[in-house]
Symmetry: C2
Subunit: 152 residues, 2 copies
DNA sequence: CATCTCGCAACAACAAAAGTTTCGAATTCC
DNA sequence: GGAATTCGAAACTTTTGTTGTTGCGAGATG
């Protein structure tokens, strides 16, 4: 099953955007992400609708953060890209009236529920500012810095 | 993303199989699962290879459990169908040298790792006999029993 | 007005499970 | 021995959702 990489990508981008002056174009961001500008617009549209980003057309336009990183959690971003399912494994409902199926799916369901609860708690507790701090710590430790055009 | 239902299906089937005498054919099982015999063989091949099932050709042939349910855990079955990924969300590695990406993916990774650990512990702690007990409890509570040809 | 840039729609590519068709081979029944 | 069962395996097609691509329109800037 193909893994959804939108959350990872958006977190990455937002932290970079916080470090640059002015707007970042979809083109620049696409290069960062190794993809193309249309995918960027598609994914970031959700973040704009939820009020984390603003987009501007024309010369000097592009995407701008509208909130401090400390006010955005990983969970916020997950929700902004449409709350995609966390799990690739699900329950089958082939015979809904079958009590065996019900017992199995109840056990599976409660396991996934507990795991999802853990994930959500974790995601809600980490702000993008926390991730930026983590980045700074890594940055302080090494000599040769990344050289992407958006990394400064 | 389509959800993998093999685990749920196999658990369902195995518990039913424990309650019937003799072998169950792929055809019968396919009816139980609302699918067709080829899918059944494909999925159950893994369980046979791991020693939970035996298959026999010809008249009177089919699938037989080779172990008591108390010696099979949910985790065993997950492994037997090929250890499919639990999560539909993954990390992007577009710029492996980028420290922001590393910080983001480290946070995501540790969250998923913790959730996976929880899932694995839970799955390892539940045997199919536990699920069968759960089924019996549900069975005792209701009047009209399921009527599938494999349910007795 | 030329250029930049987003917005949107339509569609192709891709991946993985699920479903289907069609063989063959082994076993059992008559 | 022949017919009927039943699994095994290969080679598709279908399905579902992310990702990638192309093309055109509409603001904004200089
Ligand atoms: S993509 Fe993170 S440094 Fe350029
Ligand atoms: S499928 Fe469970 S009762 Fe028939």
């Amino acid at each position: 099953m193909r893994r959804d990489s939108r959350l990872s990508r958006m977190l990455h981008v937002l932290i970079h955007m916080d470090r640059i002056d002015g707007a970042a174009t979809s083109d620049q961001i696409a290069q960062m992400l190794g993809t193309n500008p249309v995918v960027v617009r598609r994914t970031m549209a959700g973040l704009r609708d939820d009020g984390y980003l603003h987009s501007e057309k024309g010369h000097g336009g592009g995407w701008v953060l509208t909130r401090p990183l400390s006010e955005i959690t990983m969970l916020d971003i997950h929700r902004a890209i449409g709350n995609p399912a966390f799990f690739a494994v699900g329950v089958a409902v082939d015979h809904p009236e079958c009590l065996v199926e019900q017992a199995v799916n109840s056990a599976l369901g409660s396991a996934f529920e507990a795991a999802e609860k853990l994930l959500i708690e974790k995601f809600a507790s980490v702000t993008l500012a926390d991730l930026a701090d983590e980045f700074d710590q890594r940055m302080a430790k090494i000599a040769d810095k990344p050289t992407c055009e958006l990394s400064r």
